[in-house]
Symmetry: C2
Subunit: 365 residues, 2 copies
């Protein structure tokens, strides 16, 4: 058995998402690229690539990982590339999408002959969090002005809009796409391809996938473009757990259980967005606060219900731990990084990465 | 020249803190151990060890790093140790401090013959942030009840109180120490050593160091104990910068400059505590928002003033970037991790660690 803590990627759960992606591709003609910023555990890239068209990136290292590990197309995007990065970015990318007209112009000569795109910020979005809202005031994410974009349209063959964020409402997606059509339609007509980014929660249980397929096909036909989606969370939602063990229990006004993990080190977004972890079934007569083992006072996974009191040695499994977790893990407090394991379709579990003291010491100098 | 981004540790600035630590040790008799959770860049440990007594830790990996790299005493503490860790922890530690009576009891036999301590939570603290407040409601950090602690006093030779947090008020420190004396004095009398933890900002410019020395010496004498402090931030405050370069500028209601770094990946606490970075001198007629290059909409270092408009290629230097930065850096977005460089006392700069694509790819699997 693998020693806790470890992230456990479940291929059967992953496959449920991938089959919806396949269906959407077939029904609508869109191409789907995995957003590596959300999930970059490359041991399952070959498996995912059977149902996806490639990967998209947010940095030089991600585009290279996509090129080397994820079969299919490789999109390059970054909020800003450095001069010393651009040649290697272009070498690894099928398309390069610049965040600004400034970057497009700066790298105009070196990127000649490559397929180029520009990120456009439509000024509307769906994020519940200001922190994650690309349409927040003064946003640096993409160009806003249709006239300025039109002036460089001859240098690019596509646009990227990325303004959805965990959006589970088709109606809201449809409404925002209409705003994009109204505001940027003339430029979209000049393009060969349009990426609508990620953040559309179309693999969710009740998402009206047929409506989405129709809408995307209609958009593609109206403007004569190849449409791309860049799912991150939608591709891997529910596809991994974080497996931990209770190390100690205490009672200080509440029942406290300390586990061999840490939200700051292993599930960072819980701390950044002040949200609790997910634990199922979360029923029973006994309420416990599950705490991390870092020194941070607020290293708390949440309060959950159990059928019996917890004790040292009990195993817990935090749900939905694939997205933005492994890519953000860090060595805070020197807490052992969770290993990474894969549950194959036949149920066998395979350890693919373990971290040890030497990894910790080498992370510094 | 070292390519940005990089953390630059300045030994002259570090030395200013270390000389205050040396003075405090001489004047008060306290021993000072570096808290590795805050700063674990071991290339300067030998230099720091000339002015400190050793290191303290919050995990197995940290105690081993302290033993292998930081000359002097090595304290082991953790919110919870796993069964499979404890033998190695004991092998690397001069003292082991348990967080709970439960852990002390569990490891009573295996730790027989080792110097043992217990963390005590006095229920008062100085943190401005609930997240970082060890005295927050239902805190798991240490034991609270004098009667329960007294019952195991014969198993331990010391106690650890860690309830200060960036506390720059000697009066507040003094007042809380008096509460500790009043509440736990009887048990403290039975001990050989007391750690008062970290979080006392005694290397700050206006801190009344003499008063602190007197107070600590008085405490040590009254109870007949060796006092330890475990400075983290106080040891390295102001001793490093994060060096970055402007990659692009945009204008979207405000002047925006995008640099080759990210708060989430490289200065994580700015994001967690929603605080701006420090940039000096922060004067001049031109105000700019400095943004990171990750995809996070809120990846913003802050708004600062400059003498002239910023442009691509400009170099910026974020101040006070030693504490809780390098130990929390991560690969979010695949943004290149800052290298680590040291400015020697003679002004020469030495690169001690660079990170590359292979490090990124090996962080996953």
């Amino acid at each position: 058995a693998v020693q806790t803590p470890y992230y456990l990627i479940d291929k059967s759960s992953l496959l449920r998402n991938l089959e919806k992606i396949s269906w959407l591709r077939d029904a609508s003609g869109v191409k789907c690229l995995l957003a590596l910023k959300c999930f970059a555990t490359w041991s399952v890239f070959d498996f995912m690539a059977e149902h996806m068209d490639g990967s998209t990136s947010s940095s030089l290292y991600e585009v290279r990982l996509g090129r080397e590990k994820f079969p299919g197309e490789t999109h390059a995007y970054s909020v800003a590339y450095a001069d010393h990065e651009i040649a290697e970015v272009l070498a690894h990318a099928d398309k390069v999408i610049f965040n600004s007209i400034g970057q497009l112009t700066k790298f105009k000569d070196v990127s000649q002959g490559h397929l180029r795109g520009l990120r456009v910020n439509p000024g509307v979005s769906t994020s519940e969090f200001d922190l994650a809202d690309p349409a927040r005031p003064f946003s640096r994410l993409g160009e806003h002005d249709p006239a300025q974009i039109a002036a460089v349209a001859d240098q690019i063959s596509g646009l990227m809009f990325h303004n959805n964020c965990e959006n589970d409402s088709f109606e809201r997606f449809d409404e925002m796409l209409r705003l994009i059509e109204d505001h940027f339609g003339a430029i979209i007509h000049q393009m060969d391809w349009i990426s609508l980014g990620g953040g559309i929660h179309f693999t969710g249980a009740d998402y009206p996938l047929e409506k989405l397929a129709q809408r995307l096909a209609q958009f593609a036909q109206r403007f004569g473009v190849q449409v791309y989606l860049e799912p991150g969370e939608a591709a891997i939602t529910g596809a991994a757990t974080l497996e931990v063990t209770v190390l100690d229990t205490m009672h200080n006004g509440k029942n406290l259980a300390i586990v061999d993990s840490s939200i700051e080190a292993h599930l960072l977004d819980l701390l950044i967005y002040r949200e609790p972890a997910k634990l199922a079934p979360n029923t029973g007569a006994h309420e416990w606060m599950i705490c991390g083992k870092s020194c941070l006072a607020g290293d708390i996974f949440g309060e959950f219900r159990f059928d019996a009191p917890l004790k040292a040695g009990d195993r817990l499994s935090f749900q939905d731990a694939a997205g933005y977790t492994m890519v953000k893990k860090n060595w805070f407090n020197g807490v052992k990084m969770p290993s990474i394991a894969i549950r194959e379709l036949d149920g066998t579990i395979r350890l693919v990465r373990d971290f040890n003291y030497d990894d910790f010491a080498a992370a510094l100098s």
